[in-house]
């Protein structure tokens, strides 16, 4: 029986967001952002931002290519927060008005390490 993976205890407060946002690929995180409401993105961003530096410091104690399962979940959540930050800080919208459907392009991240 495999255990359910949760965030590291210090970041348990973010657990309500993890099920939706801790996604393994860049494309999935982008699609989540593009299809979320600005209010939902704002709530996620507001929750993660104050913990971001602490979370990065926690993750940096592990090698990028050997994150334990709980840390992998936290890392994916932070990568999704980077997407959310673009919507909140830069675009002020979940998606850009001139952007085509996210089915028009595909991102491969396989050579960057980590998630």
């Amino acid at each position: 029986m495999s255990a359910v993976v949760t965030l590291p205890p210090a970041f348990a407060v973010l657990e309500p967001f993890a099920a939706d946002w801790a996604l393994p690929t860049s494309d999935e995180r982008l699609h989540k952002r593009m299809n979320a409401s600005l209010e939902d993105i704002q709530a996620f961003y507001d929750a993660v931002l104050p913990l971001t530096e602490q979370a990065l410091a926690h993750l940096d104690r592990h090698p990028l290519d050997a994150l334990p399962p709980a840390e992998t979940r936290l890392f994916q959540l932070l990568l999704a927060a980077a997407e959310a930050a673009l919507a909140i800080e830069v675009y002020h919208a979940p998606r850009l008005p001139l952007a085509p459907s996210n089915s028009r392009f595909r991102v491969t991240h396989t050579h960057m390490g980590g998630a």
Binding site: L56, L67, L79, A81, A85, V90, A99, R104, F105, G114
Partner: protein, 407 residues
């Protein structure tokens, strides 16, 4: 005008240019035969093929070609037509991998990674088959600064070094070999002429307008309110535009955290950018040709179809492959030093996301341009002084299509 132009750049005039090269069948045939059939084309990076037996298979639609690029067991990178010597079947169907033999699925003829024909099932039934002269058909292949180029002429009239000319001298020491981690964006087939799309990546006039929600205030500042490039320079048919960043752009909270751990072309400050720049300055590395203090990146076009965003710790390649006169395949690669920590990887995710969202803003716009050109409302187009890069591009394409550049 804020932009300065290198003194040796030829005067290309200011007249409007014809739209016909975007829509004309004859012009496209000229590009196919006299340009893409004659010049060196960047097909891969050496870092994609680190080990003997590593290969990639890449289409070059305008030449109807499928190209195998492989590092042989002898360590040499070669390119071949992906065509079986038996009855012209496609030999390798995977996009990349590592192998000792390429085996044709049709009748299992097999070739080694140096292109030699090794195995022919039922060989005794072939009369007079000379295996030694029936390997994979080679394509001329040379490497500069870890960039692998091919040339479809059987005997290219220039070496790659001669073709790149002063651009190679200028950027020889750019540390591309250190940037061996990458993100690849595959946009696939676009409904636009290849030049419309490439033009969009080699002028910065549109950044403040089309990209006003993504690159707001990024490349303009008090002395440069219109966000012009700082410098334009040519290297034969190749060229570069150099851009500065806005030194007083305030960083939003998450952006500021990200820029502490890694910079990118959209970074406008942060300790990572400063550190990366200092490691490159003064080494003839092909960056910052005007020597400006707030240098951000250079937009360097490797003629004819690659736009290289030259950053201090990233190198992004827009690769724009014509299919026919109104279809283009577009992909880009963002190359970085391999992130050492989760925080550095996080910072890349942030800056890459902004870059990705910016470039996809160009997709629908350029597709509409193509449709509009076909409607025939206009017969010519206008270029302002800082769009000289587009003018220079069209000038050199015309020189190839007319045959003048080949004489």
């Amino acid at each position: 005008m804020f932009m300065r132009i290198a003194p040796d750049v030829p005067d290309l005039g200011h007249a409007p240019l014809p739209l016909a090269p975007y829509t004309c069948d004859d012009f496209f045939r000229g590009e196919r035969d006299n340009l893409f059939g004659k010049v060196w084309l960047n097909i891969a990076r050496g870092c994609e093929l680190p080990n003997p037996g590593d290969f990639v298979v890449r289409p070059v639609e305008i030449r109807n070609a499928s190209v195998i690029v492989a590092r042989g067991q002898d360590g040499v990178i070669r390119a071949f037509h992906n065509v079986c010597s038996h009855r012209s079947a496609k030999v390798e169907w995977r996009a990349c991998g590592n192998t000792r033999l390429f085996s044709c699925p049709y009748h299992a003829w097999s070739y080694d990674t140096q292109g030699r024909l090794r195995g022919v099932p039922g060989e005794e039934n072939f009369v007079g088959l000379d295996k030694a002269t029936n390997g994979l058909t080679p394509i001329a292949c040379e490497t500069w600064n870890d960039l692998v180029f091919i040339n479809f002429e059987r005997e290219p009239r220039q070496t790659l070094r001669e073709y790149l000319g002063p651009l190679a001298d200028y950027a020889d020491n750019y540390p591309l070999q250190d940037f061996d981690a990458w993100v690849h964006v595959d946009v696939g087939v676009m409904n636009t002429n290849w030049k419309i799309f490439l033009d969009a990546f080699q002028e910065v006039y549109h950044l403040n307008y089309l990209h006003r929600q993504t690159l707001t205030d990024t490349f303009k500042w008090r002395e440069n309110p219109d966000g012009e490039p700082a410098w334009f320079q040519t290297f034969g048919p190749h060229r570069t535009l150099s851009l500065g960043y806005n030194p007083s752009q305030g960083g939003a909270p998450m952006a500021s955290i990200a820029q502490r751990y890694a910079s990118d072309i959209t970074s406008t400050g942060g300790s990572a950018l400063v550190n990366a720049r200092e490691s490159l300055d003064g080494r003839r590395t092909g960056i910052n040709p005007a020597g400006i203090d707030n240098w951000a990146l250079d937009v360097t076009t490797i003629f004819p179809n690659v736009v290289w965003l030259v950053g201090s710790d990233s190198a992004i390649f827009h690769k724009i492959w014509p299919i026919d006169k109104e279809h283009t395949r577009y992909e880009n690669y963002s190359f970085y030093r391999k992130p050492k920590t989760p925080s550095e990887r996080f910072a890349r995710e942030y800056s890459f996301g902004l870059f990705r969202d910016t470039i996809v803003e160009d997709i629908l716009n350029t597709e509409f341009c193509q449709q509009a050109m076909k409607a025939g409302a206009k017969t010519e187009f206008h270029l302002q002084a800082t769009e000289v890069s587009v003018r220079h591009h069209h000038h050199h394409i015309r020189r190839y299509v007319s045959g003048e550049a080949l004489a």
